[in-house]
């Protein structure tokens, strides 16, 4: 009898330990956060990851990617999703939601949607920064009569030298048409027709032999710094950081392609609650306003914008002076035509 009792007690305490153990583990579940690497991840680490880890004791593991959501789909199919929070661009924020790769967000766990700038509180993703694709040049090369408008990127006579562009049709076709004199309002109407696409490629043809292609956001400042190119398209924050580090680069804001980046939670993530908690922390206006210190991207919450250091504001894409001729990319157009135009783009590259 006695021994039976002892066993019972042992089992009960073991069970209690189990429950307690699981519970205490839950309090500090580790999170895996996936983002774009380089200067951008650095800024997130300083603004969010480090303070969050300090405050909550949660261990954050970082991973780097280049919008390879295929990996997420493969993980989901295998039933072992190891990503908990992803930083996605707007095109993938929409497509990932449509394809069921992301959780539908419960905004009561983050903040009311009205607190975010219009268009940044999506079904499956919540805005974290405003960034833009600009072009920048090496001011050591062009000392006087510097490039100032988009047309200069396509003008190899006035500004000879190699230029780097993102190896995707996205953004480049728009710029090609804009530089060819198409008014901003007609770009997508034209791109929806075969003639418009032909015209865009024809414009790109004029500088094709001078183009070096980049794929990851960290490449453009490197290409500029090591003299591989004299001009490059880039995400503004990457160039901003290179300038901060003492590089003599200059940004041309004309016809900047304005866009958002978002946080999303993968469907079937093992730490959904932890992910919400982190996103809530990162969406707090005070925390959000910190990121601009480390990279020249603007916050997506109205209150956070007011908290940004006024000295930094002119380097952000949202600064009125920089926004004058800004264009926004039509994501629905790209959802429809990305694969087709990418094929065409690849065929064009191979010519």
């Amino acid at each position: 009898m006695k021994s039976e009792l002892l066993i019972k007690a042992l089992v009960a305490s073991a069970a209690a330990a189990c429950v307690f153990g699981v519970h205490s583990a839950k309090a500090a579940e580790p999170l895996t956060i996936v983002s774009w690497g380089g200067a951008y991840s650095d800024s997130q680490r300083k603004a969010y990851y480090e303070p969050y880890m300090k405050q909550t004791g949660v261990k954050i593991t970082e991973e780097e990617y280049d919008a390879e959501l295929g990996k997420l789909k493969a993980m989901k199919e295998a039933g072992n999703v190891t990503w908990d929070v992803i930083d996605v661009d707007s095109a993938h924020a929409l497509s990932g939601c449509d394809e069921g790769l992301f959780e539908k967000l419960d905004y009561s766990k983050i903040a009311d949607t009205s607190k975010f700038l219009p268009g940044t509180a999506l079904d499956c993703a919540v805005g974290t920064i405003a960034y833009s694709t600009i072009f920048a040049f090496n001011a050591d090369v062009y000392k006087d009569n510097q490039p100032s408008v988009l047309e200069d990127l396509f003008d190899t006579k006035k500004y000879p030298g190699k230029r780097a562009l993102l190896k995707k049709p996205f953004g480049n076709l728009e710029w090609a048409l804009l530089a060819d004199g198409v008014p901003a309002g007609d770009v997508y109407k034209l791109l929806a027709t075969p003639e418009g696409v032909d015209r865009a490629f024809k414009k790109l043809d004029t500088i094709k032999s001078d183009i070096v292609w980049w794929e990851a956001g960290a490449q453009p400042p490197e290409l500029l710094a090591n003299g591989q190119v004299v001009m490059t398209s880039a995400f503004n924050g990457r160039i901003g950081n290179a300038i901060k580090e003492g590089k003599n680069f200059k940004i041309v804001w004309d016809r900047q392609e304005f866009d958002w980046d978002y946080w999303a939670i993968p469907a079937d993530s093992k730490h959904v609650e932890g992910a919400y908690d982190f996103i809530k922390f990162a969406s707090d206006p005070k925390n959000m306003s910190q990121q601009s210190k480390y990279i020249a991207y603007a916050p997506t919450r109205v209150e956070a914008i007011a908290m940004v250091d006024p000295k930094i504001a002119p380097t952000l894409p949202t600064y009125p002076e920089n926004m004058k001729t800004a264009v926004t990319t039509d994501l629905q157009f790209w959802a429809d035509n990305n694969e087709d135009l990418t094929k065409r783009f690849n065929a064009w590259l191979a010519q």
């Binding site: 497509s95 394809e99 429809d336 065409r344 065929a347």
Partner: protein, 413 residues
């Protein structure tokens, strides 16, 4: 003595010898199977079954099959040329309603969009619209929402995608597509893949040739030097072989870039710089360097087995040095050359990281496209069809090689 005779002979314990023999044989076979089984299972589980699963993805309509059943039934008697009737529209509306509730409409839209660019947004809009509709008429709603719903081509694509299997990915992998009247070529500005295959085989062939030309003399040198010197020389071959492929590729990137040491030297000597990085030249150079040991080592190990007395005998019988080499020595190295070249060629076909890092956009090989479809577009079907096509072409080449050269003639040492 044959086995038939053995049947009549009995062992000491009275069991016929034939049975005894069969027992011993069975035991031996079981042992052999037992030894091979772990590797066999390993290959099946980790290699063959994923390969099969992936290949299935290239012929199946994963995104749409079973989700457009009503539409498929309604379209069963449709001519394929004119506008489908109200029943078909109503069926699609019903399918989309359910798919929309289960968050599957996005996948369906994406699949249709592969074959009918622009369908994605049209599906999205109509899914939202029919979700709010209780009754028809659906045809008018569809047509007033977007004129594309009146296009029989879109309906043909929907019909094609509603079945379990599709030829779309395989056709697309060789630049073909299903047209209104049978299979046709895709327009020239969409034709990418045949060019990519051609490029892949050309690069792999060139690299194989170069490693042979460069590796053969070195292998000969290594095989004929005294052991102490050969061992030191061997280190120079093996050291890079032991370094990771990524490290070596990155090293070439550093060497070849515009501001790199090679260009600095060129600037110093002849006063100008060359475009070396992001070119075919850089791709071939780096790949040749990486593949060199793979071609060299089998040749070397075959050369080690050729007795030096053969050439001496040829010389003493009056052959000149070249003739002795060409008629006596070289033919004996052919099995090594065959093994080394085949190894390098097949490995080169699958190169991914080197062309991606040091090559330009015109140097990207099939693997780069597989990765692109897998990772970025999330079109597993297309990625799988591209990979499988490469596998099939490689197997055909291997078969041809076997017929021409004979695989039994190949020697790794």
């Amino acid at each position: 003595m044959s086995l038939a005779e053995a049947a009549f002979i009995q062992a000491v314990d009275g069991v016929p010898l034939k049975i005894k023999l069969a027992r011993a044989e069975r035991k031996r076979k079981l042992k052999a199977v037992g030894l091979v089984l772990p590797l066999f299972l390993f290959v099946v589980i980790t290699f063959l079954s994923p390969l099969l699963v992936m290949t299935l993805k290239s012929v199946e309509n994963e995104e749409t099959f079973g989700r457009l059943d009503r539409t498929r039934e309604a379209l069963a008697s449709w001519s394929g040329q004119d506008l489908p009737d109200e029943a078909a529209f109503a069926a699609l509306a019903a399918d989309l309603k359910i798919a929309g509730e289960q968050r599957l409409a996005g996948e369906i839209a994406k699949r249709i969009n592969y074959e009918f660019p622009g369908a994605q947004s049209k599906f999205k809009t109509i899914t939202r619209k029919v979700a709010a509709m209780e009754t028809g008429p659906y045809r008018e709603t569809f047509l007033s929402t977007d004129a594309a719903w009146g296009n029989p081509k879109l309906w043909r694509v929907i019909q094609g995608a509603s079945g379990k299997y599709t030829a779309y990915y395989w056709l697309s992998a060789v630049d073909l597509r299903q047209g209104a009247s049978g299979i046709e070529q895709v327009p020239a500005n969409q034709a990418v893949f045949l060019d990519v295959y051609g490029r892949t085989f050309w690069i792999a062939g060139l690299v194989t040739g170069l490693t042979l030309v460069l590796g053969f003399p070195v292998a000969y040198l290594l095989a004929t030097q005294p052991a102490s010197r050969a061992n030191v020389l061997m280190i120079f071959v093996m050291l890079p072989f032991w370094t990771s492929l990524l490290v070596r590729t990155t090293a070439w990137f550093v060497l070849l870039r515009n501001e790199g040491p090679l260009n600095d030297l060129a600037q110093l000597l002849i006063g100008s710089r060359f475009d070396m990085i992001f070119t075919r030249f850089a791709t071939i150079l780096a790949m040749t360097h990486i593949q060199l040991p793979f071609t060299l080592l089998p040749i070397y190990s075959v050369m080690k087995t050729i007795p030096p007395s053969h050439v001496r005998a040829a010389r003493s019988l009056g052959a000149g040095p070249f003739l002795a080499f060409w008629r006596v020595y070289f033919p004996q190295t052919v099995p090594g050359i065959a093994a080394g070249c085949l190894l390098t060629f097949i490995l080169s076909l699958g190169y991914y990281i080197t062309p991606a890092l040091v090559g330009g956009p015109r140097d990207q090989m099939v693997s780069n496209y597989v990765s692109y479809y897998m990772n970025n577009i999330i079109n597993f079907g297309q990625a799988s069809a591209l990979g499988a096509t490469l596998l099939i072409i490689t197997l055909v080449l291997y078969w041809a090689y076997n017929r021409l050269v004979g695989i039994d003639k190949m020697k790794l040492g």
